[in-house]
Amino acid sequence: VVSTQSTASFKNHEMDPFLLKKIPKDTVSRLEEFALYLRESKKERRSYVSVVKTVNVFRDLICTADWVTARELIKIIKCYCKYLPLSQSNETDVSNVVRRILKIIREENAGPEATNLADGISAFFKSDMKPSNLGRSDLQDNILNSIVELLVELDTSKSNIINMALEHIHSNERILTYGHSNTIRDFLLHGRRARDFEVIVCESGPSLQGHRMAAELSAGGIKTTVIADSAAFAIIHAVNKVIIGTHTIMADGALRAANGVHQLAMAAKYFSVPVIVCAALYKLSPTHLCSYDPDAFNKVIGPENMLNFSNAKLHSKVLISNPDFDYVPSDLIELFITNTGGHAPSYLYRIISELYHPDDYDLDNMCVETVEDEL
């Protein structure tokens, strides 16, 4: 059993002294508390809750830290990020929100002439980090206002997604879903209000989250059928569409989703059944798959749900693998439904260039801006 908590994250148990100089004592305790909260990552933790917590912690940091220019502020934030256990694969939504905040800071600093990389490659050569005309308090006010807008966006992201349910579900359809997702459950229940359709849920072994989903859907009045994951190929030709949630969306439109989604998407492709992914944009990460290695991309968890530990003889002789995530390549996915609307996987690169700044893609990289450093 590989514990990802023991690896990169807590090699610095102490905060960087540079950071400790810049923030007051009571903020330090709140920052440490947040790091602890991330470290004790629980499977059932909702990504929305941790994302809102992140924004509040960083808002606190922005207000209380000692900085004058935006460049200093970004340095402080990146220093704190090195202290957080963000390298754990569970925390991509937290990293994404931090990147959004950094982008907000850069934009407010540049003022109305802010470069938008979506406008083209010449934007790479303009600097956003020239010292602003605004003093700290004005800059801070602007940043905090934008952060409030970010919070509103996060708050309404789920309702924006589920309001699109009626555009994608029609009557007497059969929809296939996999395992448990809060977004998908609410999406389907919202569709149920106006349409009559059936849902088939794959169990999603070995955690069997699909059973929980089926219970919730049928309590909401949807006719639900539970099938074993092995039966997905057998029934998929009789299904109209596959609607799934995901843990993370990678930069090229691929997914890091629950274990077993890749084979479901492959079966759907074979029978030309569209695969629709519903996810909020804070799950969109500007990272690519670099390796299939469990330490780099996946996470292998304990096999007690696969084979009882009482069968110790077999456990000692057989290598049992229980990966937590699955990599689903983008060519298997038809549509992404996000809080900003429906997008094809090929369009996500534009959204990433609008949401994040390239210097923030790697949060371990302490450089604030590559442009100025090279000039």
Binding site: T224, S230, A231, G260, Q263
Partner: protein, 257 residues
């Protein structure tokens, strides 16, 4: 509702009954029939199994990682025979709920000293890269080349094809049948749905009360059909054939009779 191999055996016995001479006494006729049953078993199951094993073991080379799906007597026999011939190979056992018969496959393989890995079918894309061959067992071979196997076989065939691994199906000729099918739903069996509620930890499944709820159903399919495009080769005791040769074997069997 019976599986194909049982149906074929019963057809064979009925044919023996019609062929049996009316001059025999009852006990003699019974003896003759019992001998016919023994012959069927010896020829079509025991000797066929040996012949298939011989052909299949030739395809296993040192350094192979072979993927098998759940439990099949024939496939286990092939792997144990290959080990007895001192071939060095590893096995990945892919298992699926609710019956989890792959566990007993693991037990038999580790008892023979073959290094084993064990995954659920959900993780089959995760391990497929390291596999060199996929060996699957069939419950029947249909006349249009589709392979009827335990549910999940088709998924293994699809994933193996995507990662360009050869799919070897081992099937005795008595399992060939004239039926044609293009999907898995039209003709299938449903096993006990309550077996899907079994969890390995002590917690009860959230759908445990499914019979009381009008909206919930549990469906536990037994078989599924694998399209012939996903299968590389079928090893039978007569020859090693592509899936499309299934009707040729059936015709040959009919001519023999």
């Amino acid at each position: 509702m019976m599986c194909v191999s049982m149906e074929n055996f019963i057809k064979h016995i009925k044919l023996q009954i019609t062929k049996s001479s009316p001059d025999l006494t009852e006990s003699e006729a019974r003896e003759e029939l019992l001998e016919a049953c023994e012959d069927f078993f010896k020829e079509n199951i025991y000797l066929a199994g040996k012949s298939i094993t011989e052909k299949a073991v030739n395809r296993i080379v040192n350094g192979d990682t072979i993927l098998i799906f759940k439990k099949s007597q024939l496939i286990l026999h092939i792997l144990l025979e290959a080990k007895a011939q001192n071939k060095e190979f590893k096995v990945v056992v892919v298992d699926s709920r609710p019956d989890l018969s792959g566990v007993s496959s693991c037990e038999r393989l580790t008892a023979a000293g073959i290094p084993c890995s064990y995954v659920y079918i959900n993780s089959s894309t995760y391990i497929m890269k390291k596999v060199t061959k996929v060996m699957l067992a069939a419950d029947a071979l249909l006349a249009n080349g589709y392979v009827l196997g335990p549910v999940g076989t088709a998924m293994m065939g699809l994933i193996a094809n995507t990662y360009n691994k050869p799919v070897i199906v081992c099937c005795e000729t008595y399992k060939f049948c004239e039926r044609v099918q293009t999907d898995s739903i039209l003709y299938n069996e449903l096993a006990d749905p309550d077996s899907m509620l079994k969890t390995l930890n002590a917690e009860e499944s959230p759908v445990a009360g499914w019979r009381e709820s009008p909206n919930t159903r549990l469906v536990n399919l037994v078989y599924d059909t694998t399209p012939p495009a996903l299968v590389s080769i079928v090893i039978t005791e007569i020859a090693e054939l592509p899936c499309s040769s299934a009707p040729v074997v059936l015709r040959r069997g009919a001519v023999k009779m």
